[in-house]
Subunit: 312 residues, 2 copies
């Protein structure tokens, strides 16, 4: 998990966000890759020493732009190298059962941080952040139904709310790209397809339901590398849970994902399935708490922590 | 973390425990190594298919012997290949704050399982076990002080008790031995030395205090392998937190550990420090809850899960 032995590292700084930093990047594969190349190019001319742990100016600047509603789009591609997380906020009376659910189902629900009730500050992942403003878009739920999708939640905040930060696939997707693998959904300009499986999670109190998986197709000779690379991030969903045969997971038709977009597979590609961070959200919706807040899909919370700190 | 993609594995069965299975093994290095060789020898003649997940007969038999008070000694060396855990049991009113503490300090407090209040069953790690009887020796605390050390806790059980299973160093110690490395404390017939550091854990509610570390010395050319091998188990304390200079951790004298036994270092050995599972116990004692139960040091809970399931 966290390598606490490091006290200082040299890390390339972020290039500053370009004025029109593309929030669309996460949805347009080729431009995303192109953009990455641009970023790498800029970084070479812009390297500085950065004191560890950790708050690079890139992260603070990104969160400031989100806080000021300058950036209200998806966060894919922002703050390269820093952990982004799923967010679930629940009243305190549900907090222990929900946390217990996450501990019991660590592949879909890798829990990274829990706040004190009423505090909008995650002391480990981002002690200077404010979870009420620093996510580009939120979803407000009443009795399990979405009632609004605001860009901050100050007017909804209560002293009994507990926030949960949960690992996200962006970390291992970055690692897959760095290892020379592609992400078919990005190349096709789609969101990753996600499916409800026939695998029941281990329940906890009112929280119960099936595991949701995301799917990324690879050729037979690419799968071992995809497994090895994603497996280096056990607290970001880690290695796949299933390779091949969708029916064995209870998935009848790959063309009809329950979340995200369908994508096309080449004839020589096999579907590879990872446990998905939509699981805890889906389970929390099922439990129908009177009140709940989450991030809006793709609009994640950017933390101060490096992906590399969570690499095994 | 857990590779949920596996549905069945072939695994060598446990050899049956010998009538005088040495609970002393954990304290006598050379006999421990000798014993391991005996075990491997037996296993070769005793291989069977075993349905995954997971309950090998070796585990059930070991727990049955512990439950029946046939085995009341340390568990080091028992049920080779299966995860053993630390145990902390607290009243429900402390449970959320304690769990939050563990999430915030994952290196010393890698949380593997949390029970429902009043239930002695850990549904993920060992659904057929009973935490009231299946640990060889417990410690009962009142207001932070030990008042008894019984072999079962049936008479102490209450409907508001929540049990926490926390990763233990036995898993990575086994991997270090399998990688051809030694454990100096075993070779010297001692318990591993443990030290209170100057590194404060991130607090949660009443739970606050410094990180405790364990120390194992290695030569300069052995340290990289020791780091790599232990790092494969991020939920069992993982890679070291510190290599060399004890004073930088606030440790004044290696010869005076706060827990365990002092050991001797050769001139060419460097002390290597790992986050230690004594941390959550020490922190829980500091919080002085009116009532608490833990395992007795070295007398761990044996689970149904394989070490290999927690390998990254």
């Amino acid at each position: 998990m966290i390598r606490q032995c490091r006290t200082k590292i040299i890390f390339q700084s972020f290039s500053r966000q370009s004025p029109r930093y593309p929030s669309v990047a996460a949805r347009h594969g080729t431009s995303y890759h192109q953009h990455e190349n641009d970023l790498r190019h800029k970084e070479r001319g812009d390297a500085v020493k950065q004191e560890m742990r950790s708050r690079g100016t890139g992260v603070e600047e990104a969160r400031a732009r989100i806080r000021g509603d300058e950036h209200t789009g998806p966060t894919g591609g922002l703050s390269r190298g820093y952990v982004q997380t799923n967010l679930v906020i629940l009243p305190e009376e549900y907090a222990f059962d929900f946390l217990k659910f996450c501990i019991r189902n660590p592949k879909p629900c890798p829990i990274l941080e829990v706040t004190d009730a009423g505090s909008p500050t995650p002391p480990v992942m981002a002690p200077d952040a404010d979870l009420r403003t620093d996510v580009p878009k939120y979803r407000i739920y009443e009795n399990g139904r979405i009632v609004e999708e605001p860009t901050d939640i100050k007017s909804y905040w209560r002293d009994d709310l507990v926030s949960f930060l949960i690992g996200c696939s962006f970390t291992f997707e970055r690692a897959l790209l760095d290892a020379g693998l592609y992400l078919a959904h990005l190349d096709q300009g789609r969101n990753v397809p996600m499916y409800v499986t026939n695998r029941e999670c281990t329940p906890s109190g009112p929280f119960t339901g099936p595991m949701v998986v995301s799917m990324r197709p690879y050729r037979a000779d690419e799968i071992p590398l995809a497994v090895a690379v994603s497996g280096r991030y056990p607290t970001m969903h880690g290695a796949p849970v299933h390779i091949g045969d969708p029916e064995a997971l209870g998935i009848r038709d790959l063309a009809e994902p329950e979340f995200g977009d369908p994508i096309s597979l080449d004839g020589d590609q096999t579907p590879v399935f990872w446990a998905c961070g939509v699981t805890p959200q889906a389970v929390a919706m099922n439990a129908r708490p009177p009140f709940m807040i989450t991030h809006s899909p793709g609009h994640m919370f950017i933390t101060d922590r490096l992906d590399a700190e969570y690499e095994s």
